[in-house]
Each structure stands twice: as C-alpha cells, then as structure tokens.
Symmetry: C2
Subunit: 252 residues, 2 copies
C-alpha cells in the first residue's frame, strides 16, 4: 500500500462543494473517488484538505488516498485526468508518508475573493467573480482588512452553522488589490471557519462602500456575534488559490 | 427613427460566431436581433462590427440598428440585458448618426490570444485560454511578432477561405506579455483578415518553441502563401478586447 497526495484544481460551478456527500449529489471528492475506482478497481474515500463550499473554485486543493495499485504515484495525475470531468484536473500526484493527513499538517491556505464592479456584468468575468454595480474605495477596504490580520476569535465572521471546536484562527496576510479590472481580496491563514472568507468579503465590501468605518472591524471582532458582520458574499467569487504545507513546501 | 450603437461583451463558447446566419444556428447577432424584437416588436438585422469566429469571445464588439421605439438610446443596454442570455451583455448603448456604419469607420481593434502553458490543464483557465504543455520563449515570440507590425500583405496569415478584396492590413502594435500565469499575444490593427490573429498566434507559438527562427516571419510574409505560416490556433483562446473608433474614441 502507498499513500498518494493529489493537488486538485476545479471549477466549482455546479458542484455541491468539495466534501463527498452520501446522497449522490455531485461533489469534487465524489468525482475523485469515482475516477480512482474506475482506474484501480479500489473503493476509496479520499481524505480532503479544505472543505470548500458549493460553487467555490480551487487552483490548489488537496486530497490523499491509499492504494495497492502498482501505478507509480506520479502517474496518477495523468491517469485520473483522463477519467475526470473537464471541470476537475489533477495538477500533481506524489507519494507521501502513510500517516500523512492533510488536515493535521501545519498549513497556510490562500483564498482570493474577486469582485467585478462595473455598470454592467461581463460574461467573461461572471463565472469566477462576484458582479456588482456598487463602487468601492479600496484603501478603506485595506484599512479594514488590516484589522483582521493576526490571531483573533472569528465568531462574528463565521456561519452560525460552524461546527469548529474553537473560533480562534490566524490570518497571516490580507491584501486588497486591483487586477485585470477586478478588485481582489487575497487572504492567507492557517485555518478558516465555515464561510469565513465570504463573510470577510461581504463585510469589507460594506467598508469599501462607505457603509461601515474601517475601524468598526475591531468592534465586529469583539462582538463575537455573526450579526455584527456583513452579509456572506456569493460563492462564485471565491477561489482557493494556494494550499501550502509549511513543513513540506515542495508538495504543492 | 434613430440609430443606436451597442457595445457588446460575450462568451463565445457554444456560439457559431458573431455574424447572423440564416439557418437558425446560434450567433451573437441572432441573439441581439431576437432581444430587440422582443423589446420593441421591430424585426431588425443589426449591423455588426468585427465578425468574430465561432468560439471567439469579446469584451467589446459593436452593432448598430435603427428603431422607431421611444425608448431612449441609453436605456437599451438595461432593457436588452434583461432579454439576452447570460453569455451576452450590452456594456453601453448610445445614439449615433443615422449613417454611422461600424465597418466604414476608421477603427483600431485589439485582440488578445491567451495561452496557458503548464504540465496540466486548469479548469479555471480553459474557457478563455488555449492550453498546451509545450513551453515557449516569450522573447523569441516578441522578436518574431515585431516583424508583423506595420502595413503588410498578410496573405500568408489568412485563411484560404478569406473573401477580402485586399490582403493588405496594418498592425499597429503587437506585444507578447505574461499575465496571471498565462502568455498573452496582444495585437492591435486597423483591420484583420479571416483567422489572421489565430494564425499569427499559431505561428508565434512555433517561434517560441524554437521550431522557427524569429527572423523567418519576414519570409512567411514574403511567401504570400498560407502554407508558409503555422497552424490556426484554437478559437477559445481569442478575445476581442477593444473596438476603438478613432474619430469617436468616446463611443466605446
């Protein structure tokens, strides 16, 4: 037996999230399990990395599985890509230690939330960005976002359906930048609560619009109450762009 | 009666090109004609700008039509967007002179051909880029592209099915740049022959791969023979990004 790590990119449009679900709804993990079964004949349940929501995209998410197959670990990328839908593509496959668990590793995940603000939607952007005609002051968004960096209790920025044991998380970097006609909120952290990046995006948009002061972000954190923050921004604007294992930076 | 100019963005995936066709195949102009009919009750045939091929995208293409409707020209954008498929969005609508014809104006069109070169395809890029595992030297591509700038007989870079009266066209700028992990061939000119940008892209990729010398581009031009150039690069990598009327730069 060997354990294989997959680095997975996907267009989340039309998928009910990353994590496999029992009722046959399409998920990224479900598609990976099917492709592995088709290739090796083995019924596996991959162990996934970040459990992205329905409609969220990834340039780098991860999954591991154990196999008795004699296919070299490095060849799984090619062989699985032939069996996966076009919306999912393995970027890399590599053997890891038999006890390697992606969610028990020290890691830094980087998400980008893309906002397209213009008088009219653009068909070339709306698959991977949130469109709005509202206008934003990026410097205000950055000033608000700066207050989120560091270790905080992020209860206010978490779905009330979060099942996390602790609401304390660490954001290591948050940048608000302009790229290719869009506003991008790029946020890195060692872990995120359920809906956390989308609630950060929804709240910073209110800051950028002038409906909230940048300084109010500290009050939102202190409130430890979901109702203190802004709305959850729509899923299609969110992409997991980097999944870095700090002790194994070469894996991804 | 008034003449209205539409600035149109579209995702060309699944469309049989811009120009309306008689046999009911889906085209961008056909969708515009249908939306105008639904809105005004008038059967019109819009006069289009650049006749992009099947599968080619646009951030800015143009069309004009005449209407007796009392709807203000500026409001057509909003009203037509409610009636168009999500893949097509009017960016602007404005009244123009009754003899304004988009193809009889001095204009500069800018196309971008996007190439994603990586070991594996990315589901987040393959809608608007051409994927290949081949590797390219961008400086070589730029050196070859430099030889295309100016007024030339572009017979070698034109489909043999071109019906243009003259094969002479002027390229005003050609840049090969890297953006967001992709190679972008950005080419501006006062007019283009059928398939011209896609053949330029296919030829410059051969230059970038080392299969042709940059200087050979001059020989290709001089040959005035389609067979002297490289292959026609796939449509989905091509986007019309700017349609500038030189005498009316504020229109688009």
């Amino acid at each position: 037996m060997k354990r294989v790590l997959l680095v997975v990119a996907y267009d989340g449009t039309g998928y009910s999230g990353y994590q496999a679900q029992p009722n046959g709804v399409p998920t990224i993990e479900g598609e990976l399990n099917s492709a592995i079964l088709e290739l090796t004949g083995e019924e596996v349940e991959v162990i996934g990395g970040s459990r992205t929501d329905a409609g969220v995209h990834a340039m780098q998410n991860v999954a591991v599985f154990d196999t008795a197959s004699r296919i070299p670990a490095e060849k799984f990328s090619y062989a699985l890509n032939l069996r996966l839908p076009a919306a999912i593509r393995i970027q890399k496959s590599v053997q890891v230690d038999s006890d390697f668990h992606p969610r028990h590793q020290n890691c830094v995940k980087t998400y980008e939330y893309r906002i397209y603000s213009a008088p009219f939607p653009s068909p070339l952007k709306d698959r991977y960005s949130y469109y709005t005609y509202r206008k934003f002051d990026i410097a205000r968004m950055q000033a608000g976002g700066d207050l989120l960096v560091g270790e905080h209790d992020f209860t206010s920025f978490s779905s009330i359906y979060s099942q996390a044991k602790s609401p304390v998380r660490t954001i290591t970097a948050l940048e608000v930048l302009q790229r290719d006609g869009e506003i991008v909120i790029r946020v890195s952290g060692t872990g995120f609560l359920y809906n956390m990046v989308r609630i950060i995006a929804g709240t910073l948009m209110e800051v950028g619009e002038g409906r909230r002061a940048p300084e109010s972000i500290t009050e939102v954190l202190n409130a430890k109450d979901r109702r203190a923050a802004g709305p959850t921004a729509p899923a299609q604007g969110l992409t997991l762009v980097r999944y870095l294992f700090q002790d194994h930076p070469d894996l991804t």
